[in-house]
């Protein structure tokens, strides 16, 4: 959208909270290297979600290709997460992905899909299948896992030792918006740690704001210790952001990915 010129530049003078409180891990995104056009709303880890009543704790991101789990796994329709996680399992870093790495990962996913290993490719709707027990080990997102786990203690998120991907949902202002200033005030407002603490409690995704953990420590220490919401620096070292692709690379990846997942 930035590339297409649909989004306007943010006025940083209205956004002191973002300047001050945006966590370093979120200071760049593949589509907006300097965060001139966007501010993260919430961060998202993609990793493994599994049912501990059906299988033992996974050892590796590659467990998803274990033939014993044939038809019991799903992957995400979000190409960067699914390809990124698979690349990590192959020992490649998605933040430095080459075309060959991407194609090798896509080949691996394609083969597993043709073999019937992968039950489906899903968006958020993977929650239905893992809740019912139709799937046992899946590529999934951190915030969903926190909520699923609250409803069913058998569902767990697992950070693969090979690494995992980090992305974010973002706030942007379209070109021509009549009240850009008001929107910027809103963005600044949610970067106040007190305000963000309420959001973190409600949505359970990775918070991009500094100082929220401290706010919640008194009120809800259990949540404040949850690494899915407040990742430690050590954990973040293992989080990978997908490389910025050129338009051509991007269309090639998306097109091939859609073909692999069957459409």
């Amino acid at each position: 959208m930035i590339r297409l010129g649909y989004v306007q530049k943010l006025d940083k003078s209205v956004l002191p909270n973002i300047q001050k409180n945006l966590l370093p891990a979120f200071r760049k995104a593949d589509f907006d290297l300097t965060r001139d056009y966007s501010a993260p709303w919430q961060g998202i880890f993609a990793g493994l979600i599994y049912r501990k009543d059906k299988i033992a704790e996974p050892m590796s991101v590659n467990d998803i290709f274990d033939p014993k789990l044939k038809g019991k796994v799903t992957m995400l329709t979000e190409s960067r997460d699914t390809v990124g996680l698979t690349m990590l399992g192959m020992g490649k870093d998605p933040s430095k992905a080459t075309t060959e790495d991407i194609n090798a990962a896509l080949d691996k996913i394609d083969k597993a899909n043709r073999d019937g290993q992968i039950r489906r490719f899903t968006g958020n709707d993977y929650t239905k299948e893992i809740t019912r027990g139709d799937t046992w080990l899946i590529y999934g997102w951190s915030g969903d896992a926190v909520q699923l786990q609250a409803d069913d203690p058998n569902i767990r998120f697992f950070f693969p030792p090979e690494g995992f991907t980090l992305s974010s949902d973002n706030m942007q202002i379209p070109v021509g918006a009549p009240h850009a200033y008001t929107a910027e005030l809103m963005m600044n407002y949610v970067y106040d740690p007190e305000v963000q603490a309420k959001i973190a409690k409600a949505v359970n995704y990775v918070t991009p704001v500094k100082g929220v953990k401290e706010v919640l420590q008194k009120e809800n220490p259990k949540l404040a210790e949850n690494e899915l919401i407040f990742p430690s620096d050590k954990l973040l070292e293992n989080a990978h952001i997908f490389k910025k692709l050129t338009p051509k690379e991007e269309q090639e990846l998306d097109s091939r990915f859609e073909q692999v997942i069957g459409a």
Partner: protein, 289 residues
């Protein structure tokens, strides 16, 4: 006034023609243009008679294209096998319950199509009672599943379009003249022969209409494959949806839409030529007398 009288049919036709012009002909024209465009989302698409879009689309997606027609064919056949006895029973044995029974056929259609398909997802999930029974009976292997298989997709399509098969069948069977069957038995036809020589030919217009109403939407369907299937069951509708909305590759999506439309048209014309024309015209001719 003769002039005014001559204008009447055109005035009566006008609303329909305008409708067709704005909501069929014009969109079709724009779609045809898009299908011949070249470029990408960033640089923009421009029109340059890119007929290669069509050949590329076929070579990339012939699998989903054939699958769509295969699923639609099987679903239509199943709908006929399920729908014919049902329509026949309601028409001949329904008695005063006829309308109530017909209402039951239509009733599920009062819920939206999407919700009905979502309900099937719950009915067919791996640990559902329905699947447990099938596993117990040995129809489905113990570690097997129903959801996310070809069977589930075809069953979903059949279910969703069944009413379109039953209603036209009922309409023709209900008008069937009992006297003809009595005449057949007077002429020493047994019941099977009477059915084959009298009932079936007279029901043919209903069969043709029902199969068209089932086959055409079934071939373009993507909801069933999306919710009840996997990418290994994706039909051409899924591809068009993703090309338009996910990859924003409008020319390929538009070309595929045209290919689907042309293929359906060809199949329909062939089917009507084989089974339909005689039946449809035959009845009209008979009624004209």
């Amino acid at each position: 006034m003769p002039l005014r009288r001559r204008a009447v049919p055109y005035l009566l036709l006008a609303p329909g023609l305008l409708w067709l012009l704005f909501f069929f002909a014009l969109p079709l024209y724009y779609m045809g243009r898009v299908a011949l465009e070249h470029g990408d989302i960033y640089a923009g698409y421009h029109f340059d008679w890119a007929f290669s879009n069509f050949t590329d689309a076929i070579s990339s997606y012939h699998e989903q294209l054939f699958r769509s027609f295969w699923y639609a064919f099987v679903a239509t056949l199943l709908a006929l096998l399920i729908g014919f006895p049902l329509a026949y029973a309601i028409a001949t044995r329904g008695g005063r319950w006829r309308n109530a029974l017909l209402l039951l056929v239509i009733l599920p259609s009062l819920t939206t199509y999407l919700v009905r398909t979502l309900a099937w997802e719950t009915i067919l999930d791996d640990s559902s009672p329905a699947v447990n029974v099938l596993q117990f009976l040995g129809v489905v292997p113990q570690d097997g599943r129903v959801l996310a298989t070809t069977g589930a997709v075809i069953a979903g399509i059949t279910y969703n379009f069944l009413a379109f098969m039953i209603l036209p069948l009922y309409a023709t069977l209900e008008r069937l003249d009992k006297g003809m069957l009595e005449a057949a038995s007077d002429l020493y036809a047994n019941r099977r022969k009477a059915f084959m020589r009298v009932t079936l030919p007279l029901a043919l217009p209903g069969i043709v209409a029902g199969s068209l109403l089932t086959f055409i939407p079934a071939a373009g369907d993507f909801i069933n494959a999306q919710l009840l299937g996997t990418s290994r069951q994706y039909m051409i509708g899924n591809v068009i949806q993703s090309r338009f909305l996910v990859i924003t590759d409008y020319p390929t999506a538009a070309a595929l839409s045209f290919i689907l439309m042309a293929a359906i048209l060809l199949l329909v014309v062939a089917w009507v030529r084989i089974a339909g024309s005689e039946a449809l015209l035959g009845v009209e001719a008979a009624e004209a007398k």
